[in-house]
């Protein structure tokens, strides 16, 4: 039986909602799709990695279009979703350039965001029936 236009629109909306949830809260997409073990692992690992980045005095970069590398780092930071905005709102992630662990902190923050983007893509693949 062919899918109607309404079915396809509903399916697309569902996919977007899953991807949005997966981005906002690490692992939430997998949890909503019933992949509990994977969802919990992503939630714990990515959140801890992000918190380690803050603990290591890394910086949550601002979006500065005039400095393309800073803007790209900001986009990567935002990949972690809500934790980024919560940390920003709480005044964390100012970054201390002279700290020994500053670059490590940046690496943890940026990579946690990028890994969460991969997790979002994985959740998208699951909704499309590719996995």
């Amino acid at each position: 039986m062919r899918a109607t236009t309404a079915d396809r629109e509903q399916s697309a909306t569902y996919t977007y909602l899953i991807c949005l949830a997966a981005w906002a809260i690490p692992g939430a997409g997998h949890l909503l799709l019933g992949r509990i073990q994977k969802g919990v692992t992503f939630l714990v690992a990515l959140t801890l990695m992000f918190l380690c980045g803050l603990w290591l005095q890394g910086r949550l970069f601002p979006v500065e279009i005039r400095q393309p590398l800073v803007a790209l780092a900001a986009l990567a930071d935002m990949g972690i979703g809500l934790p980024f905005f919560i940390a920003r709102g709480a005044g964390a992630g100012a970054g201390r350039v002279v700290a020994l662990t500053y670059e490590y902190g940046n690496a943890f923050l940026i990579v946690s965001g990028l890994l969460n983007m991969l997790v979002v893509l994985d959740a998208f693949d699951i909704t499309q029936g590719r996995k």
Binding site: A45, L56, L100, F108, V111, L118
Partner: protein, 58 residues
């Protein structure tokens, strides 16, 4: 709390290995096996690269 370069590299490798293994394998046993392989490769590769760079000072 004290931090060391090697300690932070190991912590970083641990997080990345856990996420990649969970992403790329479905069975928990396979995840554990693949994660351990990735973690070992990251740590051994990092230390090997560090030693190679030792011979090329800035």
């Amino acid at each position: 709390m004290r931090t060391s370069h090697v300690g932070l590299m190991i912590l970083f490798a641990l997080f990345v290995s856990v996420v990649f293994a969970t992403l790329m394998r479905d069975d928990p046993k396979q995840q554990l096996r693949f994660g351990a392989q990735l973690f070992t490769a990251f740590v051994v590769g990092g230390i090997a690269l560090g030693w190679i760079l030792y011979f090329f000072p800035l």
